[in-house]
């Protein structure tokens, strides 16, 4: 019996391999931390979906390659890229100088601002109004770096933005800072949160913040594939369709 199973397994493997090798299109493995709705998240059917997921798939179709999206925890997502566990990261990664030193970025595909989610009864207008209070954000995100620079505020770093939101809802912290589409999703789409939470304001920054696809330093092959795809979807209007699907018409 065991022998039969082994033989059957071997046969499947041997027949499967040539089938895979048969498709010539290169496969680009992309890591995403799927806890960041509506950019990338896991839906009720356990599918990885979201704006950036659709975008990556459209790029692949346009430029003639295949994508495989891997759900990877944010903490360590850059270490995995450096270690060669995947080819690229498309997970709402903000392009900044510090990151540019250790990885290469595609053309920017989205502009974000840092939004502050807080309780409805709060009348804070800037981050300085939270002096002596706790503010939460996801570890290693631009939102967390923003609150770390504010004097007199205790920054708290969470593994996932959802945990920070839950803590805000439970009243242990006073605000959460994250990318504006995510803030909108949590504060306005989820029934429980919408009753009590609001987006108070966006953190003022002198520089515009863009998201990009990160690849290993010097990996021009993958980078050119992705850039080619991005240019193509922007040109033929697919980009606007995807954007409208996830963020409405505006």
């Amino acid at each position: 019996m065991l022998k039969k199973i082994i033989v059957a397994l071997m046969l499947t493997i041997f027949t499967a391999f040539p089938a895979m090798a048969g498709s010539k299109a290169p496969v680009v493995t992309i890591a995403s931390d799927c806890t960041w709705p509506p950019m990338e998240f896991v839906n009720k059917d356990k599918q990885i979906v979201g704006f950036s997921v659709d975008l990556m798939k459209a790029c692949a179709t346009a430029a003639g390659y295949d994508v495989k999206i891997k759900n990877v925890a944010w903490d360590g997502i850059f270490a995995g890229l450096a270690a060669g566990k995947y080819d690229a990261i498309c997970s709402s990664v903000t392009i900044n100088e510090k990151r540019k030193k250790v990885m290469d970025f595609s053309a920017p595909y989205f502009e974000v601002q840092q939004s502050v989610v807080t309780n409805k009864d709060s009348n804070a207008k800037t981050l300085d109004d939270f002096k002596g209070k706790n503010i939460g954000a996801q570890i290693g995100t631009t939102g967390y770096f923003a609150i770390k620079t504010v004097e007199g505020v205790t920054p708290k770093s969470y593994d996932e933005i959802g945990l920070a939101m839950e803590d805000l809802y439970n009243g242990r912290i006073s605000a959460v800072v994250c990318d504006d589409p995510i803030a909108a999703d949590f504060a306005l789409q989820q029934a429980d949160y919408a009753k009590r939470l609001k987006i108070a304001f966006t953190v003022k920054s002198d520089k515009a913040e863009y998201l990009g696809v990160a690849v290993r330093k010097g990996n021009t092959e993958i980078l050119s594939l992705i850039d080619k795809g991005l240019a193509a979807v922007r040109a033929d209007g697919t980009y606007d369709k995807i954007k409208a699907k996830w963020f409405g018409s505006n």
Binding site: F78, A79, K98, R99, G140, S157, Y158, N170
Partner: protein, 260 residues
């Protein structure tokens, strides 16, 4: 009439090496000097990441100690009462203690932490440190309870009978006769639990408690120096655990001293 020569060897009993080998070449000293030497070498030879990491985490070390020490005290108290409850002749108390052990032992600590902090958060408004300590104490209390129970049961029944016939009450028998003797059996496994608790305290970083691990992860997330950061964190945990284990074995040695 041939004589048979019988060789009789005189020994001091079973030849088990002394665990308290006082020389500098036992495992503890090798690890301890190795860890300190490694940290010193890294900090001096490559101050750029390593010294920065070391300067970044001290408040995390204090938090780790706070969580560990408070949880040890909590777990000891819960453990003592659970152990006594498990051997109680009162069926109701026995059932409560046994159910507590069964339930807590069957749920991973990480899940308990999530449960107490995030799931119960809407009802139970406790701060992060407190819920971390609460969860650790409740979890380790169950294990400690089993250690206490085994230790108490290891004492010969004659001790209880003798104490009772000398006129000690049930409570006096337990606290003045049985527990002082059982403590010797209990201490080594309790020491193990202490060390396991210290290491598991790294799990509280999931509750946004700024312990060693979370501080390290914050450093790594910003600098991308994962290898350097986790090397330093591993060495720090090792150093702290070694110091704790030395403390525990000192206590054991003192108890054995009175034994002789």
């Amino acid at each position: 009439m041939s004589e048979k020569k019988v060789k009789i060897e005189v020994t001091d009993g079973a030849s088990i090496p002394d665990s308290q080998d006082p020389s500098m070449f036992n495992a503890w000293w090798v690890s301890f000097i190795g860890a300190i030497g490694m940290i010193a070498y890294l900090v001096i030879s490559k101050p750029d990441p390593y010294r920065n990491i070391l300067l970044f985490v001290p408040d995390g070390i204090i938090v780790t100690f706070e969580v560990t020490i408070c949880s040890i005290i909590g777990a000891l108290i819960i453990g003592l009462f659970t152990g006594l409850g498990r051997i109680s002749s009162n069926k109701f108390i026995n059932l409560i203690a046994s159910t507590y052990v069964e339930v807590v032992r069957g749920i991973p600590l990480l899940v308990q932490l999530f449960y107490i902090y995030y799931a119960m958060g809407r009802v139970l408004q406790v701060q992060d440190m407190l819920s971390a300590i609460l969860a650790m104490s409740v979890c380790y209390g169950a294990y400690m309870g089993e250690v206490f129970r085994a230790g108490i049961e290891s004492i010969d029944e004659g001790q209880t009978e003798a104490a009772r016939s000398l006129g000690f009450s049930k409570r006096e028998t337990m606290f003045l006769v049985i527990l002082p003797q059982a403590w010797r059996t209990i201490l080594p496994p309790v020491g193990n639990e202490f060390i396991a608790l210290l290491k598991d305290s790294s799990l509280v970083s999931i509750l946004a408690v700024a312990d060693i691990l979370r501080r390290g992860r914050e450093f790594a997330a910003e600098s991308f120096q994962y290898f350097e950061t986790y090397t330093m964190i591993a060495l720090l945990y090792l150093l702290i655990t070694l110091i704790l284990s030395k403390g525990v074995s000192h206590m054991e040695a003192r108890l054995n001293h009175y034994d002789r």
